[in-house]
């Protein structure tokens, strides 16, 4: 495996979770998904943009991770949108419980 173009440059970067808001089109491109898949996840309540209607939707930066997880689950476990939404909810619950466990010293 030969690497060809190897000019090094300092890339400008932003922290997605804190500095980025996505439109539906941007999120579609970032997830390399079809917009219908993302719309289906919004309709399930699994992704929660602000704004009225798909054209005006703005997704918080943390949505990237959530949407990608949902899309991986959809593809790899052959789930539909309601199934993926349910798994996301359960994963959230597990995270909450783990955090609570750590706080009471069960770490």
């Amino acid at each position: 495996m030969v690497s060809t173009s190897n000019h090094r440059s300092l890339a400008t970067c932003v922290l997605v979770e804190e500095q980025v808001q996505f439109s539906l089109i941007e999120l579609t491109q970032a997830c390399r998904a079809d917009s219908e898949q993302l719309v289906a996840l919004v309709n399930e309540g699994a992704l929660t943009p602000i704004g009225d209607g798909p054209q005006r939707w703005r997704f918080a930066g943390v949505t990237l991770q959530r949407a990608r997880t949902a899309l991986r689950l959809t593809h790899d476990l052959e789930l539909n949108a309601p199934g993926a939404a349910l798994v996301l909810d359960l994963l959230d619950q597990i995270d909450t419980l783990r955090a609570r466990l750590r706080r009471v010293g069960g770490d």
């Binding site: 495996m1 690497s3 890339a11 970067c13 922290l15 997880t69 991986r72 593809h75 476990l77 010293g105």
Partner: protein, 319 residues
């Protein structure tokens, strides 16, 4: 390159029906999917399972694989037979949806060719007008100290890149990146224009880096907070002490209050990951007992026994 027994990976017989292959895959995928599984090596196991399924779920690929499989066993050295066209275009569903696709093993690629997610960009080349390159994703691991201090880091990653014939190959790539102070495990950096090059004058896509913080021998990270197990001597815990505590960003002094017991969490406010507000660092007390391996040490424990004659360590167990 070793031959891979895809049937064994899925735990099915070579005579299994498509329905059985599918069922075996779904069961293993739920067990090992990296997003839901806590099994060790879940990601590696899932890759194997997904690759086996990709080969066996598609009738054309399965037939081609069975042809090869008649002459090989699991783990046996394997090279494609002469005349085997590794660039053959299989018509089954390409790679994974989105870029959820995993890098295939050399064995898989020698049989079915490389198809790492290039399908859509190849299609895009035929389109009219400028086309934006696709966004790419990669995972990189940094040390906890990198997050504490931030700053420029050189990272290397493997990204798909079209070779001279337009086929996607994985390529080593080095990038200098400014790590923001206080970045947390699982957060993402977006590097504008560092994804796939655009077509017909279109702009390049972006590169997303998912940041993982490498496990540290002493510190555990939980969001912005950092935990450290802090061993103390019994007299330090009992009488109180001022002890030196390492943090990822240097030593600090910590006061252990008298009558502290094992497991007590002492908070060092603001010494967790930098942020507004910064996280906290918790020192979790562990009692370290000195060994009774000299006469003087044994005498010391005897003294303690006398001094605490009424002490009942197991009183809570009494019924």
């Amino acid at each position: 390159m070793d031959f891979k027994d895809y049937y064994a990976v899925l735990g099915v017989e070579a005579t299994a029906t498509q329905e059985e292959v599918k069922r075996a895959y779904r069961k293993l995928a739920r067990k090992y999917h990296p997003d839901v599984s806590k099994e060790p090596d879940a990601e590696a196991r899932f890759k194997d399972v997904a690759e086996a399924y990709e080969a066996l779920n598609d009738a054309e690929k399965r037939a081609a694989y069975d042809e090869i499989g008649k002459r090989h066993k699991q783990g046996e050295a394997f090279s494609p037979p002469p005349g085997w066209d590794s660039g053959f275009e299989f018509s089954g569903r390409g790679g994974a949806g989105g870029d959820g696709g995993y890098e295939h093993s050399d064995f898989f690629e020698s049989l079915f060719g490389r198809q790492a997610g290039g399908a859509r960009s190849r299609g895009a080349q035929g389109a009219h007008g400028p086309v934006t390159g696709q966004d790419h994703h990669a995972k990189v691991q940094i040390d906890l100290l990198d997050s504490y201090r931030g700053g420029q880091r050189s990272i290397s990653m493997r990204v798909p890149h079209p070779d001279a014939s337009g086929r996607m190959v994985m390529q080593e790539r080095q990038l200098d990146v400014n790590i923001p102070k206080g970045i947390r495990d699982g957060q993402h950096l977006r590097l504008a224009g560092q994804g796939e090059p655009g077509h017909s004058g279109g702009p390049a896509g972006d590169l997303y880096l998912e940041i993982g913080i490498a496990p540290d021998a002493h510190f555990r990270v939980d969001g912005r907070d950092v935990y450290l197990d802090l061993p103390v001597a019994p007299w330090e815990a009992a009488l109180g002490a001022s002890v030196t505590v390492p943090t990822p960003d240097g030593n600090v002094q910590l006061t252990v209050p008298p009558n502290s017991s094992a497991g007590r969490k002492l908070r060092l406010k603001g010494k967790g990951l930098p942020s507004t507000p910064p996280g906290d660092l918790y020192a979790v007390l562990q009692l370290a007992l000195p060994p009774a391996d000299t006469q003087a040490a044994q005498a010391g424990y005897r003294e303690m026994e006398k001094a605490f004659a009424g002490f009942q360590p197991r009183r809570t167990l009494e019924t």
